[in-house]
């Protein structure tokens, strides 16, 4: 009986490499779908960081986190040097038209160029914060523009999108959560 059991285990052990190979294949296949350049968003669920920076349109006016917090709002990181922001801009204009409050964070940009850009393409932002050195960008974990954050009325970051927000992204990632947050606010 003992010998038979031992033989059975030996036979089973022969399949071990195959099982390991299958497991590795599954793990690697799952890995294929992931985007290695995407960083996990550690700030989702955290309060919007405090800051003190000038307004884009008025260098003498200082803005801080209290200007951002209070209602459901999108915070959009943009710059004139950012090519994808050109593509995104029409979508932001459209959202602003629909009544979504969008706040701009002009990131490491030139003030005159940024104002000209908004004059030419339309200004979807309730106001824009001028972050010339990217300090608020670092506190937000920004690593490229555009990025968009959805904040609830308490100033907690509820969603983050790295890259362009277009119709598809809005419908898939933002729309329902936004509607839900607005409903809670009222």
């Amino acid at each position: 009986m003992k010998v038979v059991g031992g033989l059975f285990l030996n036979r089973l052990a022969l399949f071990l490499p195959l099982v390991l190979f299958a497991a590795l294949t599954i793990v690697l296949l799952l890995g294929l779908d992931k985007d290695p350049s995407e960083l996990p968003s550690v700030l989702v669920g955290e309060p919007f960081p405090s800051f003190s920076l000038p307004a884009l349109h008025d260098a003498d006016k200082t803005l801080d986190e209290r200007d951002v917090i209070g209602e459901v709002v999108l915070v959009n990181i943009w710059a004139t040097w950012c090519f994808a922001c050109r593509i995104e801009h029409a979508m932001l204009n459209q959202l602003a038209e629909q009544g979504v409050k969008v706040i701009g964070l002009n990131y490491k940009d030139n003030r005159e160029a940024a104002i000209t850009w908004l004059n030419e393409r339309g200004d979807p932002y309730a106001f824009s914060v001028f972050d010339e050195r990217g300090r608020l960008g670092i506190d937000l974990g920004v690593y490229g523009a555009p990025e968009t954050y959805l904040l609830d009325a308490t100033g907690t970051i509820r969603h983050r999108r790295v890259g362009v927000v277009d119709d598809r992204v809005w419908n898939n990632e933002f729309r329902d959560l936004y509607a839900q947050l607005i409903a809670v606010q009222r």
Binding site: P36, K108, Y143
Partner: protein, 157 residues
């Protein structure tokens, strides 16, 4: 003429690179410089896939190097600086990640694989020994049997 000219150019370019990298970062205390060097080689550029902050030319890497320099001057410890950055950019930026519940497999698997290899080696070793032993015995048996047969054959003559 031409080789000498290109040699001069090479020297000029090379030294300018050296001067550039040496003089860029100023510290109030020189002991901060080695910590700075270690930190920027161990931290990864968030925008690039396979470069650390020291090697990367990306604007975000430049900003983060300045941020690290600023934090060093503020007498923050290496641990605090890493925490400050991972709480913004996630563990992605650590080239030497901490051991925690998402990384135990990463840290543990080399030892697990080594252990499996050792066990397999021991097992094979033991099996081989047994085989050699029984083989010897068979050979001896066969030899004595041949001798016996030969002897009985001689007897029959």
């Amino acid at each position: 003429m031409r080789p000498r000219w290109s040699m001069g150019l090479a020297v000029a370019l090379f030294t300018s690179v050296l001067f550039g990298s040496e003089n860029l970062v100023e510290f109030s205390d020189e002991s901060l410089r080695s910590r700075y060097q270690t930190l920027i080689t161990e931290l990864r550029c968030p925008k690039c896939q396979n470069q650390n902050l020291a090697d990367s030319n990306a604007p975000i890497s430049k900003d983060l190097r300045e941020e690290i320099q600023r934090m060093l001057e503020q007498k923050m410890s290496d641990r605090e600086i890493k925490y400050h950055l991972t709480s913004r950019y996630s563990e992605f930026i650590l080239y030497r990640p901490d051991v925690n519940k998402t990384t135990y497999l990463l840290w543990g698997s080399p030892f697990a694989i080594l252990l499996i290899g050792l066990l397999a080696a021991l097992r094979l070793n033991r099996r081989n020994k047994i085989d050699v032993g029984s083989l010897d015995k068979t050979v001896i048996d066969q030899e004595s049997r041949i001798a016996e047969l030969l002897k009985s054959g001689e007897d029959d003559k």
